[in-house]
Subunit: 305 residues, 2 copies
């Protein structure tokens, strides 16, 4: 199992230089999450082979238009294509009202249900949990309430070492071994030693999406040691004053957060229109945190073993 991030839009504020506005697909544990949904996300999804019917969850970080103006169009297209599967939407207070108002005036009743989960401004919530995965939020430092999303696979079970355990044994014993226990015989002696018959669990992966935010060291505390971090990097450091004034970050600041948190890899995004060529942003981040990459349209980033 792996964790996969596919970038649908990388630009801040307005589309420019053939870059769309924020949106990405996160696939993990058989769940498909759409994270932010700038205008034209449905077109980008089609361009990059994403089947929108597979999306189970849509998360909107905040209510600046470059992060959600594609949502109504996407919902309409899901409806037109006959979707009947429930859809979970996670967003700030106001998003539900914005959706409802537009559906009301178009006299449209969607043929699928929406489970709307309102995010707590300034809060940290577990918004999704199943036996394999937790998705939680924590607050970013932006002009309006904005949430980061943290995807964490739960610890996995030990694996049967099939090179050693060659005979068939009852499922109850398999489960005991996977749970890290020894299997005993009727006299209470060890029949199958966990140490011998199992291998360590596969690693659990983690990913955080942090957009939009000014530089804030509390972010590093929230994401200690995660495998991959998307952190906005709207400007190069020469525009640090502009970054602070607009509650955004420079590429260097994104890299400092990545370094402080000790993450595995840093993805840069939410680029200002002033950069047609993004290489200065990448170079700036790499000078602080080497394993940095530009999260541009169509790129896929996979965390696996």
């Amino acid at each position: 199992m792996s964790l996969e991030v596919k970038i649908l839009g990388s630009n801040a504020a307005a589309p420019a230089h053939h870059r769309n506005q924020s949106s990405q697909i996160v696939r993990v544990q058989n769940q498909t999450f759409l994270v932010d949904c700038g205008e034209s996300t449905q077109i980008q999804a089609k361009k990059f082979g994403i089947r929108i019917g597979k999306i189970n969850h849509i998360m909107i970080s905040h209510l600046h238009g470059d992060h959600y103006y594609g949502l109504m169009g996407l919902l309409s297209t899901m409806h037109l294509y006959g979707r009947e599967t429930r859809l979970a939407i996670y967003g700030p207070p106001g998003l539900s009202e914005i959706i409802s108002l537009q559906l009301r005036y178009s006299e449209t009743s969607l043929n699928f249900d929406i489970d709307f989960h309102e995010l707590t401004p300034g809060g940290s919530d577990v918004i999704f949990e199943n036996p394999h995965l937790t998705v939680s939020t924590f607050p970013l430092n932006h002009r309006i309430p904005c949430s980061a999303f943290l995807f964490q696979e739960k610890p996995k079970r030990r694996r049967i070492n099939k090179n050693v355990l060659k005979e068939e044994i009852p499922p109850v014993h398999i489960n005991a071994l996977k749970d890290g226990k020894d299997v005993l015989d009727e006299e209470g002696n060890v029949r199958y030693s966990n140490e011998i018959y199992t291998l360590p669990p596969r690693p659990s992966f983690s990913y955080a999406y942090c957009s939009d935010t000014k530089y804030d060291e509390s972010i590093a505390e929230q994401i200690k040691g995660i495998d991959m971090l998307y952190h906005e990097s709207t400007f190069t450091k020469e525009f640090v004053d502009r970054a602070h004034a607009t509650f955004h970050s420079t590429a260097e600041e994104a890299a400092i957060i990545a370094k402080k948190a000790g993450v595995g890899k840093l993805l840069l995004g939410h680029f200002s229109n002033r950069y047609k060529d993004l290489s200065p942003l990448l170079a700036e981040a790499k000078s602080v945190f080497k394993n940095s990459a530009l999260a541009i349209e169509g790129e896929t980033f996979i965390v696996d073993e």
Copy 2:
């Protein structure tokens, strides 16, 4: 002077086959109108060399998303690019509330003013008038209130025939001649005969935008003899039942309206996703009304002498 229509989006319901949703630019008498604004209109405008700062007026025919989901993104980009010029928006009841709600949650105060003109559902209004041009609405026959837009240049003045009138004469006399009067001398005799010294006015052009609507003969009454008509043609006639059920028209029905009204030219648009190849729609319309054309992305249609 001419009247020019530039197509930014031609598809119904959802984007497909590299076709965007309804939007077009109408340029007439130094005014630039954006008529409908489906998702990604701002990207289409850029692609086809339209400077969005030049748009004076935005008209939204109705509140189905394929006709307005690009509006908020366009307004945001105008704001980001520093627009300060007032913008007129004409739309159905509800549109103003939809815009205000989204601006409120994004805590955005646009740096230009919007003059919002609410269209009367089922009504006919003059929504714009200056000495040269009138734009009016009339009702279409759709599932929710939907307005057609009719652009009519006012009758122009007669022109001085410079081949005959070679001397300089006072402006008051020029104006009298242009107004169709003779210029008299002090004794009351004809000094400059209008018939001799002027040429007939240049023609005045007219254009109507009719989307979305089921077949309705009252439309033909509203647009008698206009130069150019855009009429939706969502389906071919084999799907006439579906067209009626969804309050849309077939290409044949659009052509019948064009023929009954005696218009100069018919533009077809708002194509269903089921048509990758649009030639059956064009052929069907042409069999009834020869001067028909597909109003697809990037095409420009000009009415002039």
